[in-house]
């Protein structure tokens, strides 16, 4: 958006007005990526995202390891959401190998997945807070994240990279007294979430700043193929957990959170509302879970899939996360493609930032729920 030149002042070239800013990869407001931003005064004329600084070739690595060996390294793109990124892989491999998952394992998977969603969203929210200059909102979620991490540690033994889901169930059963502990911490967590509402989401300065900025219309959200919170904040009711329920999500009681505004504020609010729903899901799942039973179907050594391909998707913290696994009958997959929400939402960035003020850049950028490491894979 180049503002028309005032009469009387003649510039030689339009380019003279425009300054190129390299936001990243060593910029405190960029993450592991670079945004090449051109500004005209305080307005952004164009934005060209340049990801790839943390590309590690996870998909290529997966072609050289067998189905079990792939588990620990496939969760590396999002270690804060590691259960959710392994979930579609496990579902796909179960389809390929024809495995049945025990009922109790399904519930444990749902609980772990929702806890991990909270861990991810809290971390994301913390960075959103510090991007907007709200340092309290950085410290609080990072502190409260510990409670969810402790629960996941009790389940899986690892604090961040759990490698908890395996094809055929989960790696190990829940520890003793897990249910009481989990319920107690979820109660505390729900209390804290209400305080976040007071200090952050109802903050007049925040509302002034983010409401009406970076508006993504419903049709644009669909056309650009966005997913997750970006899509739901634009008024599209689409949640893989509801629309294509996997494991036991069709038994559980929860609602899809949809907002209509499509601006930065709505985009930042949908993940928060999702966390409240996650608490409901965990409580419900703890109630309905079989109290004992097997948690894992035993695999044959070195399992082989047929000549087949499977595409499974789940709802992760950043939206629909799909795994496309092609098998050619060998113990290793022939091709694994991770279709991640971050990468799909990246396309919004040039569209939303064009014409925005430079001060809105962090608010719009991080509200897209974009995780640079996951997008690069």
């Amino acid at each position: 958006m180049i503002t028309p030149l005032p009469p009387g002042i003649q510039l030689e070239k339009v380019d003279d007005r425009i300054m190129t800013l390299n936001v990243g990869p060593q910029h405190p407001g960029s993450g592991h990526m670079r945004l090449i931003i051109k500004v005209d005064g305080d307005y952004i004329v164009s934005c060209d995202p340049d990801p790839g600084y943390v590309h590690r070739g996870e998909e290529k690595m997966a072609e050289y390891r067998n189905y079990i060996q792939n588990i620990p390294h496939l969760e590396r793109p999002v270690i804060h959401d590691s259960c959710n990124i392994l979930y579609p892989y496990c579902l796909a491999v179960e389809d390929l190998l024809g495995l049945e998952v025990p009922e109790r394992a399904k519930y444990i998977r749902v609980i772990a997945s929702e806890l991990n969603r909270c861990v991810y969203t809290l971390y994301w929210l913390a960075i959103y807070g510090i991007f907007l200059g709200h340092s309290t909102m950085f410290m609080w979620p990072v502190g409260d994240r510990e409670f969810c991490i402790d629960l996941l540690e009790a389940m899986s033994g690892a604090r961040v990279t759990h490698a908890y889901f395996v094809p055929g169930g989960v790696r190990n059963d829940l520890p003793a007294n897990f249910e009481e502990r989990c319920l107690r911490q979820i109660d505390y967590f729900e209390k804290r979430l209400k305080q976040y509402e007071d200090i952050f989401y109802q903050n007049p300065v925040l509302k002034q700043r983010t409401e009406g900025t970076g508006v993504l219309s419903r049709m644009d959200a669909i056309r650009l193929g966005t997913t997750g919170s970006v899509l739901r904040s634009a008024g599209v009711d689409f949640d893989v957990r509801k629309k294509e329920p996997y494991d036991v999500y069709d038994n559980l009681d929860f609602q899809t959170q949809v907002l209509k505004e499509g601006d930065s504020y709505a985009r930042s609010r949908v993940p928060y509302l999702d966390m409240l729903e996650s608490c409901r899901i965990i409580k419900d799942a703890l109630k309905k879970m079989p109290k004992s039973g097997s948690v894992r179907t035993k695999l044959k050594p070195n399992p082989k899939g047929g000549n087949d391909e499977v595409y499974r998707r789940v709802e992760s913290g950043r939206g629909s996360l799909g795994m496309y696994v092609v098998s050619d009958g060998k113990p290793e997959p022939y091709r694994v493609k991770i279709s991640v929400g971050s990468f799909r939402n990246l396309i919004c960035m040039p569209y939303l930032l064009k014409g925005e003020k430079l001060g809105n850049m962090p608010a719009v950028y991080w509200s897209l729920n974009y995780w640079p490491v996951e997008a690069d894979r």
């Binding site: 340049d50 990801p51 790839g52 590309h55 070739g57 998909e59 290529k60 050289y64 390891r65 067998n66 079990i68 060996q69 588990i71 190998l97 024809g98 495995l99 049945e100 025990p102 395996v166 790696r171 190990n172 059963d173 669909i222 056309r223 650009l224 193929g225 966005t226 997913t227 899509l231 599209v236 689409f238 629309k243 294509e244 039973g293 097997s294 948690v295 894992r296 179907t297 035993k298 695999l299 044959k300 050594p301 070195n302 391909e309 595409y311 629909s320 799909g322 496309y324 092609v326 113990p331 290793e332 022939y334 091709r335 493609k337 279709s339 990468f343 799909r344 990246l346 396309i347 690069d376």
Partner: protein, 194 residues
């Protein structure tokens, strides 16, 4: 590569359930009705140009020739109401000297189609000594049909060397600008030590 995995041995205490592969093979595969009707719509429109890869619950695969892929994609968007692409994957088949480009299409507007993922696949020729952008490994871009494939096709171009004709922005996305090796996701690009 080790054939046994240590994780398997740990779970021997849990109750064992046999792998159910054998059971699944016995039951006759029933093709779901809704998915079949969708696939038949495509086949009745294009006839022999397209073939149906498989019809599974919630998943349909349609193979098309790369010359017709634009027409098929436009038909899928306009008549079947699939409105966005979830991913674009390139799969390298060096034995048949082909690279398969797979589009996973989904729909947000049609509630019936919410759980469907339509796989649209096409194959492009593959050259042993690739020269991305200047050899025969090219196909028409679907960017004008599905806007959301823009970045996915850029990724496919740099990773597999498939050039998309008509794509407005055929630059590198993830790889560094000075990458001088062959496209890394081709099968002949080996990882060290494997």
């Amino acid at each position: 590569m080790s054939s046994e995995t240590t994780i398997d041995e740990k779970s021997s205490e849990t109750v064992e359930t046999k792998p159910e592969i054998a059971k699944k093979e016995i039951t006759p595969v029933v093709e779901p009705k809704f998915e079949k009707s969708l696939a038949e719509k495509v086949v009745s429109k294009f006839g022999t140009i397209v073939t149906i890869g498989f019809i599974k619950p919630n998943r349909i695969r349609i193979n098309a020739k790369k010359e017709n892929i634009l027409d098929v994609a436009t038909f899928i968007r306009d008549e079947l109401n699939f409105d966005h692409a979830e991913s674009v994957t390139g799969v390298d088949y060096p034995k048949s000297k082909e690279i398969e480009v797979v589009y996973h299409l989904g729909s947000y507007t049609e509630p019936q189609l919410a759980k469907q993922v339509l796989t649209l696949a096409t194959r492009v020729p593959r050259e042993d000594i690739p020269n991305p952008g200047h050899d025969s490994t090219r196909m028409p871009s679907l960017r004008d049909v599905f806007y959301s494939v823009e970045f996915h096709e850029r990724e496919c171009f740099e990773m597999l060397g498939v050039y998309f004709d008509g794509h407005p922005d055929n630059r590198r996305l993830l790889l560094p600008e000075d990458w001088a090796d062959i496209p890394p996701f081709r099968k002949d690009f080996g990882i060290k030590g494997r």
